[in-house]
């Protein structure tokens, strides 16, 4: 975690695995969020991913090997979404490259999402027999019902420009190179706002759009967990893994 005055930077640091969300990574992320939430000097949280991708989703390989691990990953992902949305501070995501599946779910929980033309977002998880239902409580408010249905049921991956049109990205940099500058600027502008008013407004919006309602997240998680525990998912994850190995060799 790096910090400059009001802005606290949280960065996923596993670029080789395109910041795939493992159990230790999610646990450490949750711990950091908790610490920052208690820090009254911080008014803005900046979420980043090291390397070419923001986050490629939960670690499916670990999940394939151990079904119990898949359950744990989904539970932690759901918790991470709730924690991001429930942060008293405003959360800004800097999204270069992929924010796929679980990465996209995290994105949907942020208040501001900044991408670039090469950003890739979406939920291609039905291909491995999983449901991205876990993402619904925050995705629905971000993009509206029609776009949420299309994203979750079709499972396609869209680029930054399209994501901006759907409001899954609130800001779009003209290029990858310009993305950090755009986020710097946004954070600097947000830092001029009145902290208490900002905090109260976020909490009020959370209450109004019900995006931190525990029961909604719990049901959403149960749907995703259900999908993860079927034979279909086991078969499709296995097939996906074999295809990947074949492509690599």
């Amino acid at each position: 975690m790096r910090r400059s005055e009001a802005v606290s930077i949280l960065r996923f640091e596993d670029p080789e695995r395109r910041n795939a969300l493992s159990v230790p990574m999610l646990e450490s992320f949750l711990k950091r969020l908790e610490e920052v939430a208690c820090d009254s000097r911080v008014t803005i949280v900046r979420l980043e991913g090291a390397g070419s991708a923001f986050c490629s989703g939960i670690d499916l390989e670990a999940g394939r090997e151990d079904p119990a691990m898949l359950v744990r990953l989904l539970e932690l992902l759901s918790q991470a979404m709730r924690s991001i949305r429930g942060m008293p501070q405003v959360v800004v995501a800097q999204v270069q490259g992929a924010a796929i599946a679980g990465g996209c779910a995290l994105l949907s929980a942020c208040d501001f999402t900044c991408g670039e033309p090469g950003t890739r977002v979406g939920y291609p998880v039905t291909r491995v027999g999983l449901s991205a239902a876990v993402s619904v409580p925050t995705l629905l408010g971000s993009v509206g019902t029609a776009a949420a249905r299309s994203l979750l049921l079709e499972g396609s991956v869209i680029d930054g420009t399209k994501a901006r049109q759907l409001n899954l990205l609130t800001h779009l940099a003209a290029s990858l190179e310009e993305l950090p500058g755009l986020v710097d600027e946004l954070c600097a502008d947000l830092a001029t706002k009145a902290p208490i008013a900002m905090l109260k407004t976020k909490a009020w919006l959370n209450e109004l759009d019900e995006s931190i309602q525990e029961s909604r997240h719990q049901s959403a998680l149960e749907y995703s967990l259900h999908s993860a525990q079927t034979d279909e998912a086991a078969l499709m994850l296995e097939r996906n893994w074999k295809n990947k190995k074949r492509d690599q060799s």
Partner: protein
């Protein structure tokens, strides 16, 4: 038009051929909403709420700007009065939404803060390319809690979040993209566009239109009024805090 004491009315109502014009009339202050003005507005809107003789209501501002927002300068030393203004504004928005016929905001110049909030409650917003719209509240230490429930319903929770948490104002094209403006025309065509929309609405079946609006209002949900009133209390609490009072004093000292 003047009131009993000979003063120009702060809010005017003019009805003709089923078209009611509800005019914010304080052009020298860019129609900033003072307590007196909000009270007059409430009275006018309450009247329209129970009036089924009109076919359409056009909300407009006299002079160069539609509405510059809440006039807090006049109550600078009275945070409690600020709270009362917010509570009354909340009731205005509830009554405005309940007007049984379609409402059109005709927005020229600027619609800021509470002024933009009024737009968010109307069924249509017609404006022009040079308009300045937005919710700069959080820059001033104010929580835009009264307008939030309406804004979420108009433009969706994600857009409302991005607009209200960023504060400031936005150019017209962005307001169109966000769904805050329905129709954008050159300033010289603003009246023609509003008139065209009025003709279109009045050519429809009055009962069908009223029933449709009633149903849409019902779909706002059973909680919306309670949310707006709660929003007023929340906003009143934030505005009397040190942070808001310090920021407002700085702004008005300029």
């Amino acid at each position: 038009m003047t009131d009993e004491s000979g003063n120009e009315e702060l809010v005017q109502l003019r009805s003709e051929d089923g078209v009611c014009r509800l005019i914010l009339n304080r052009p020298q202050a860019r129609n900033a909403l003072s307590m007196e003005m909000i009270e007059s507005l409430l009275e006018a809107v309450e009247q329209l709420r129970n009036d089924e003789a009109n076919r359409v209501v056009v909300l407009e501002g006299a002079g160069k700007s539609f509405c510059a927002g809440m006039d807090l300068k006049g109550v600078m030393n009275d945070p409690l009065q600020m709270g009362d203004m917010l509570r009354t504004l909340a009731r205005v928005t509830i009554a405005l939404r309940s007007i049984p016929v379609p409402t059109i905001a005709r927005v020229q110049g600027a619609a800021i803060g509470g002024g933009c909030g009024l737009c968010g409650v109307c069924d249509f917003v017609v404006s022009h390319s040079e308009v300045k719209m937005g919710y700069p509240e959080i820059g001033l230490g104010i929580c835009p809690a009264v307008v939030a429930p309406w804004l979420i319903r108009r433009i969706g929770a994600g857009n409302a979040r991005a607009i209200l948490l960023a504060g400031g104002t936005m150019p017209a094209e962005e307001a169109v993209r966000m769904g805050l403006i329905d129709r954008l025309v050159p300033e010289t065509d603003l009246d023609d566009e509003v008139d065209g929309l009025v003709r279109k609405i009045t050519s429809g079946g009055p009962k069908a239109i009223m029933v449709t609006k009633k149903w849409l209002n019902e779909l706002d949900g059973p909680d919306v009024e309670a949310q707006v009133l709660k929003g007023a209390e929340l906003s009143a609490e934030v505005i009397r805090g040190t942070e808001a009072q310090e920021r407002l004093r700085k702004v008005f000292a300029k």
